[in-house]
């Protein structure tokens, strides 16, 4: 049982949070803002974006055909897309059949309580038009959110 990484994308196609446990980093710093992660984020975004477009075309008009998991030979990506355009993504090994409950918890118990209820935090992370369409750089860094993610996902990492 292993979760490898956790990503959040916002409705401006920006990665507003990433945490990769397999990389050697200082765990207390929470995020790793390395170039490598930025590239991975873009690829991950592109993959989900494409598959989402296809799955929506496959679905009929009045039913919602949302993508939930994608598997390769070694990885599984678990995805929660909200109506507000947020994507929560977990990468795990193949043993994790379904992490949808974990994703829902990350959204409703962690994101909503530490970002949405937190009036000191933005809920729209793009401050100007130049930071939209995948060109943003701002991340969720408030300490309650980082702590909550570590506490919740930490025990599932290995």
């Amino acid at each position: 049982m292993a979760i490898y990484s956790f990503w959040i994308f916002d409705r401006h196609c920006n990665c507003i949070f990433d945490r990769e446990w397999t990389l050697k980093t200082n765990p207390s710093s929470g995020t790793t803002n390395s170039k490598l992660n930025e590239d991975t984020a873009k690829l991950l975004y592109g993959m989900i974006f494409s598959l989402r477009s296809i799955s929506q075309k496959l679905g009929s008009l009045d039913s919602f055909n949302e993508i939930r998991t994608i598997a390769t030979a070694k990885y599984r990506a678990h995805i929660l897309c909200t109506a507000s355009g947020l994507w929560f993504v977990l990468l795990s090994d193949l043993k994790q059949e379904d992490l949808s409950q974990v994703l829902r918890y990350l959204y409703s118990e962690i994101y909503v309580k530490t970002v949405v209820y937190n009036w000191l935090s933005p809920v729209d992370f793009a401050e100007t038009a130049n930071e939209k369409r995948g060109q943003g750089f701002r991340k969720i860094r408030n300490r309650q959110f980082l702590l909550a993610v570590e506490q919740f996902l930490g025990p599932m990492v290995n």
Binding site: T114, Y117, W119, S121, P122, V123, R141, R143, F145, Q151
Partner: protein, 251 residues
């Protein structure tokens, strides 16, 4: 709560139970809507201050034009909540004082109406006829706090000469407020305006119960380090606040 187990319920307990049932039967709204309304009051007060300062140099026809624009485009000049709070930090102390005062007044006018609301609800443990100052403060700690903030004040201390310390170990309206790890000083400064509203509520309740003279009641609030919260593992940090209330009493 189980009446079968306690057939010998006293008259007072019966009244309490009845009161509780009555409270539960009153119309309700979602608590989160109330919390969000209170939270947004602080950036709103900053926004008002910005606009009042702007308007001092536009008058007459220009003001009229501005009003027409507001009707056509109600989002003109919109600033998100967290940005308005950052502006509070950056503003001069006289501007901050005006914003604080605005928030305090909102609490005050709520406090004035609250005692009426709570008295008319037939709470059996309340009789205002011969209530002394200490009884009034207990009313604030128990009934007012429970109504507005969903919990009671954890500790009340007094010197019996008009000075009271009310300790709330977990002042809920500020529990979700957090910045990045390295910004704890800013974070504390941003919590300050959030403490004006409850101070106003305390003043308003006292005012409506007879402590009316100008300056008769002074209420200030301080965020205190919460030893228990730093030990606790919950990422949502509870924050302790001490409310210092001074009431001028004739000797």
């Amino acid at each position: 709560m189980n009446s079968n187990q306690k057939p010998e319920m006293t008259e007072h307990q019966k009244q309490q139970l009845q009161f509780q049932l009555f409270q539960e039967s009153l119309p309700k709204v979602n608590e989160i809507v109330y919390r969000m309304l209170l939270n947004e009051t602080i950036p709103m007060a900053v926004s008002v201050q910005n606009r009042l300062s702007d308007n001092s140099d536009t008058q007459g026809t220009l003001g009229q034009e501005l009003e027409e624009k507001l009707v056509l485009d109600p989002l003109k000049g919109h600033v998100p909540s967290h940005k308005l709070l950052q502006q509070y930090l950056a503003s001069e102390s006289d501007q901050q004082a005006k914003i604080d005062n605005r928030l305090n007044q909102i609490g005050f006018s709520l406090g004035q109406k609250l005692s009426q609301l709570l008295i008319f609800s037939n709470n059996p443990s309340l009789s205002f006829r011969d209530m002394d100052l200490l009884a009034v403060m207990k009313f604030v700690c128990r009934d007012v706090w429970r109504q507005v903030f969903g919990k009671q004040i954890d500790n009340l201390k007094t010197n019996h000469r008009g000075t009271f310390y009310l300790l709330d170990n977990n002042y809920k309206p500020v529990e979700s407020l957090a910045l990045d790890d390295d910004k704890s000083l800013e974070e504390k400064a941003l919590i300050d305006p959030y403490l004006q509203f409850p101070c106003g509520v305390i003043r308003g309740v006292l005012d409506s119960l007879g402590f009316k003279e100008e300056g008769a009641v002074i209420c200030t609030a301080t965020l205190v380090d919460n030893a228990e919260s730093s030990k606790s593992k919950s990422p949502i940090s509870s924050r302790a606040v001490i409310f210092n209330v001074q009431v001028a009493v004739e000797n």
